[in-house]
């Protein structure tokens, strides 16, 4: 590659640069072979798999509840929603209805997780583009969410906080008060960050018109989550196939218009406000009662196959479960949102500048733990 670079340096023709896997703005171990002509990107080819741990193979040797900790380690910024998808799939195949209190607890934790995940996204995305300040504010808020997780289940990152049939624990005394205190002060913080960024000229220069993808292309590339909604498609699993008790709470699904990095930023900021709205409704209505349904000690779904998906912070996270009637899954496949979303990256960066590549990686909000599994 050095010789190729030297040969073409004088007349500045195309050269190939390896970007990552050890690079802070690749959000993990993503590697991109980038073909550039000067600063202009001609093509980018993602190379992934550096974090492959064979999660789907590991599922096959675990009992169903034993699979849950493995899901924590896929998208490690959103362990709760990963748990939620897996237990949902098993419950669907077994015909389990979980108690309403468990469903509401799941929704509260999942929306807190969405906030935490979006905070990591905002922090790192802004940092990549050169705005350092939001990073510290975001992590301060995220820490408060992780404190709530820790109080509930003892873990901050790899929560392992759901079981087939419900929730493992009830809330500790005063948890709802502390959660309410958190969400009461949170919207003002979102305003603060928006004041730092939304009308900031540098931020707009770096994001408006960068990494544009049209609505038709977004569907064609199978994008889900904020990248799809940023292109103007109002589509959210929580609305389309409501799980838990999402049909009982009110919230809006924000969309963008231009499908650029700036719109996806606005979509996620609004999603944070909507998550707060959902949590507030859940806390207001949190029913009493058990948190665990009556399920057999040994989880043995009948023969059959089922697909169940949740709206994770990154997009549609699906689990395709094939059971042979045993106590371990015969096959448990994950439909990872980040893996599919990343595939559209070459189309989004072609013709743009190398610096924009960093912005587009940030706006896709990828987590390599989920891409590589």
């Amino acid at each position: 590659m050095e010789t190729a670079a030297l040969k073409t340096f004088a007349d500045a023709e195309e050269m190939e640069v390896s970007f990552g896997p050890q690079h802070p703005s690749t959000h993990g171990v993503l590697r991109l072979m980038v073909k550039v002509d000067g600063e202009r990107i001609l093509d980018a080819k993602p190379i992934i798999g550096y974090l492959h741990r064979g999660t789907e193979k590991l599922f096959e040797r675990e009992t169903y509840n034993g699979c849950i900790p493995h899901t924590d380690r896929m998208d490690y910024t959103a362990a709760v929603t990963n748990n939620q998808g897996l237990v949902g799939a098993v419950e669907k195949l077994m015909g389990i209805t979980i108690p309403p209190r468990a469903a509401y607890l799941r929704m509260i934790l999942a929306e807190l997780q969405r906030l935490a995940s979006h905070l990591v996204w905002l922090a790192t995305h802004a940092l990549d583009i050169g705005a350092q300040t939001p990073y510290f504010y975001c992590f301060e808020e995220r820490d408060k969410i992780l404190d709530l997780f820790e109080e509930y289940c003892g873990a901050r990152l790899t929560t392992n906080c759901m079981r087939v049939g419900g929730m493992p624990y009830d809330l500790t005394d005063g948890w709802t008060d502390r959660c309410r205190a958190f969400i009461n002060q949170f919207p003002a913080k979102v305003e603060d960050w928006e004041r730092l960024l939304t009308k900031n000229r540098i931020w707009r220069e770096r994001t408006v018109g960068v990494g544009v993808i049209s609505a038709a292309d977004a569907v064609e590339w199978g994008l889900t989550g904020p990248p799809l909604r940023g292109s103007g498609v109002r589509w959210d699993i929580r609305k389309v196939f409501p799980y838990d008790r999402y049909n009982e709470v009110e919230f809006d699904v924000p969309i963008g218009t231009n499908g650029d990095t700036y719109d996806r930023y606005l979509v996620r900021m609004e999603e944070m406000r909507q998550s707060v709205r959902i949590i507030r409704q859940c806390l207001d209505r949190l029913p009493d009662g058990p948190v665990m349904a009556k399920v057999p000690k040994v989880i043995k779904p009948p023969k059959g196959e089922v697909y169940f998906s949740v709206e994770g912070p990154k997009g549609e996270l699906g689990y395709y479960l094939v059971s042979d009637g045993g106590e371990k899954p015969y096959r448990l496949h994950v439909r990872p949102a980040c893996f599919i979303n990343l595939q559209a990256l070459p189309d989004m960066v072609r013709g743009q500048l190398v610096a924009d590549l960093v912005a587009v990686i940030g706006t896709l909000d990828i987590v390599l733990g989920e891409i590589d599994r």
């Binding site: 992934i48 798999g49 009556k294 196959e305 599919i340």
Partner: protein
């Protein structure tokens, strides 16, 4: 509490318990023994019927389980069926593509499973083809662009060859890796990684072994 009462009728199952335990009927569903959904024939399901009408012979079998319809398609009809489903019937979104390994099955070792979505009425449909180890699967990358990496993953993990794929390389493991990890006959503790990966450095059976060699 008010919500509790509101949602209880919706979730309750009908007629699953024996008539003998009368008080049990008032119990909420989460306190009863769960009743798993049963599969039933879905050849007359509207989603299946419209596929059969648009492309006669495409439906070799259809089952519905837990509200999800699975259509089995003959391998030779697969590409045509996918094109019809996308262009005529509007399934513009390929949600998921994966493979299930059934070693020793007579009808073919692998199930290739496609999970389609249609935005018009938010309907989902599962396509399934049975493929023998020696058979090629036509690539659907020409129908849905998103299939590209999904098929690469299926190739990597199961060793299925997708004919017509523009760039069928390993994606999660590295080039030069031997074996296909998600096949049932691939040992969970890994293969003899030393010799299998670097045959020019380690003697056959030598080198470091994944999982500490204990199996």
């Amino acid at each position: 509490m008010a919500d509790d009462e509101k949602v209880a009728p919706k979730a309750s199952r009908t007629g699953d318990g024996p008539a003998a335990d009368a008080p049990a009927a008032s119990k909420p569903p989460w306190e009863e023994k769960p009743v798993a959904p049963l599969p039933h024939d879905a050849t007359s399901h509207p989603q299946v019927a419209e596929l059969e009408a648009a492309l006669p012979g495409a439906v070799a079998g259809a089952v519905e389980l837990a509200g999800q319809v699975t259509v089995t398609v003959p391998l030779e009809m697969l590409l045509l069926a996918c094109q019809t489903l996308k262009e005529t019937l509007g399934y513009g979104f390929l949600v998921d593509l994966t493979v299930v390994d059934w070693p020793g099955r007579e009808a073919g070792r692998f199930d290739v499973v496609y999970w389609l979505h249609r935005h018009r009425d938010e309907a989902r449909l599962r396509l399934k083809v049975m493929v023998a180890e020696t058979q090629e699967v036509p690539s659907v990358t020409g129908v849905w662009k998103v299939a590209n990496w999904m098929e690469r993953e299926a190739f990597d993990m199961f060793g299925l060859y997708f004919a017509g794929h523009p760039n069928l390389e390993r994606i999660l493991t590295w080039e030069g890796f031997s074996g296909h990890p998600l096949r049932k006959d691939f040992p969970i503790e890994g293969v003899d990684t030393g010799a299998a990966m670097y045959p020019d450095i380690f003697p056959p059976g030598g080198g470091p072994v994944a999982g500490g060699g204990e199996g």
